[in-house]
Amino acid sequence: VATETHPATAHAPAAHAAGHDEHSVLHHHFDDMEQQRECTSLGMWLFLATEVMMFGGLFFAYSLYRWRFLHAYHVGSQHLDITLGTINTFVLLFSSLTMAMAVHSASLSNRQKMVSWLGVTWVLGAAFIGIKAVEWTHDYHLGLVPALSWHYYNTHPIEHELLRAGIGPQQVMMYFVIYFSMTGLHAIHMIVGLLLVGYFMWLGQRGQFLKGNDQPVEILGLYWHLVDIIWIFLFPLLYLIAGFHPFAKGGH
């Protein structure tokens, strides 16, 4: 494929330029759409790899302290609301489906459906952030936010089982430091995603991404799905530790 020469370049530069106007989605430094698509996909996957490594550092910190402070993780996670966490997981998984539908509509050059599916995706993403805000506000009032509002264990002396296990409040605090770091970085990614989806809706409404120029929507989808995947791991790791645990009785 690469050895083929562009017939226009040999004798008619003007025709070559006109050809590119006709297919303006093909940038001049690529031979053809296939090469451009491949290159754009690889660039995005490389970016996603750096994202995975950034979150990977936090997942590592989570694993290290879980190994060290297992009981404190049980105590800390019992403060989380599994129902809200499950609803949010459903919301994000559903938003991945609607994003896939938006990419699908873009590849069929269906502008109205693409913008509508992006709109549904945006609403679901906003719902996720809204539920997260409710959870965080609750934690703040309870006094479970390290550095900002940490007083829950001043007024709730730790149960004797925990003392027996040698757990101090500072170990539970470590769980919450990791909880807020991971869900916070994830929420920042969600907000960036919402801004991008909104921008793409505006561009889409103006007629972008049609007739072979659908790849930007697919690239946006890759970002959205990666943020979904990170939550797929965060949900069981942060919320589902204490479900069966004897300390889980009582909650908050």
Partner: protein, 121 residues
């Protein structure tokens, strides 16, 4: 004008050729997306139910196995890796390979030493 037709012909030809081998523009049927979503819902219920049984260290194993399956479904179908070129597959695989390096080498270090005095006790 003739050159434009040639370019279009070439693109059309490549497109047809690619669908069989590594078609980047492969359009996935909606039914596939719906099936994947249904599977994700089943796995979500499974991970939730499993968390309420005390299975010792198996709890985390089951939770992570289900999470990897869910992530795999999203990567392969929603992110189109199954229908992408070998190079894209390689990049996606390398991402998780690097993550394994991060975990295995650093954990091996912590597991083989005393807990550092500088870290929270």
């Amino acid at each position: 004008m003739a050159s434009k037709e040639t370019l279009l012909d070439r693109m059309t030809h490549e497109h047809v050729e690619d669908v069989g081998s590594h078609g980047e523009h492969h359009i996935v049927p909606v039914s596939v997306y719906l099936k994947v979503f249904a599977a994700l819902m089943v796995l979500l219920v499974l991970t939730l139910v499993a968390a309420y049984f005390d299975l010792g260290s198996w709890n985390i194993m089951i939770a992570m196995t289900i999470a990897v399956l869910k992530a795999g479904l999203v990567v392969l179908y929603f992110m189109h890796v199954r229908y992408s070129s070998h190079l894209v597959k390689f990049f996606a695989g390398a991402t998780f390979f690097w993550l394994i390096i991060l975990f295995s080498l650093t954990l091996a270090d912590y597991f083989s030493r005393e807990w550092p005095a500088a870290l929270p006790q």
